[in-house]
Amino acid sequence: MSMDAIGIAGTALTVHRKWLDSVSDNIANVNTVRSTEDAAFQARYVTAQADASGQGVHVAGVSFGDAEGRLAHEPDHPLADEDGYVRYPDIDMAEQMGSLIMAQRGYQMNAAVVDRAKETYQAALQIGQNR
């Protein structure tokens, strides 16, 4: 039995779910401060890749943002070094919000594909039924 559309849309749902997870993690850590000795929090970016089987998509891997971050002068911060600097992650909030919307819409789109595919299969079963 082939129900490919549902399976293909399912792989895309998984990819978008992972994308949503990474964006939520990035946004959650936008104010994560580290001392200048440590690396800054690195934003996560998922990389989508078409399946080798030609049916669907999967997450090929995750790339990380800049470990350098940006230095901020906050002498009162408990993690500040002797010069009064702390390290903030280099995350662009506008970019993250854009990704969030794209991930959400992509997920919704693929959920709609599943619904339509199911409706289509059910229509196929109604062929020839004169009721």
Partner: protein, 112 residues
């Protein structure tokens, strides 16, 4: 009393159309119909294997449903996807079965 079904006087030499094997010409006395040689239980076997597939889809769906309730599920959509799959598959098998029974009943009604 009618002892044998005799062919009508004006009809003779009508041969079987070839669709039904074993049909005799109208000239021979008696009914010469024998059932066509169909593979034994082919429909039943096909329906049975389809039923097995539906069974496995439903057990997957049930498993994922339990995982969703216990919080062991990583992907929420997997459970709903499996349940859609199982329901469409069941609908298909039941449609095939209904059409088969319909065809059988139609044949059973074929009597003058």
């Amino acid at each position: 009393m009618i002892e044998a079904i005799m062919p009508p006087a004006g009809v003779s030499g009508v041969a079987g159309a070839g669709y039904v094997t074993g049909a005799q010409g109208a000239g021979t006395p008696g009914l010469g119909l024998r059932p066509a040689q169909a593979p034994e239980g082919a429909f039943a076997a096909t329906l049975g294997s389809a039923m097995d597939e539906v069974q496995s889809l439903q057990s997957t769906s049930r498993e994922l449903g339990v995982q969703a309730l216990t919080g062991d599920l990583t992907d929420m959509h997997e459970a709903t996807l499996a349940s859609s799959r199982a329901s469409v598959a069941l609908e298909m098998v039941s449609t095939v079965r209904n059409r088969g029974v319909e065809a059988f009943n139609e044949i059973m009604r074929m009597q003058a």
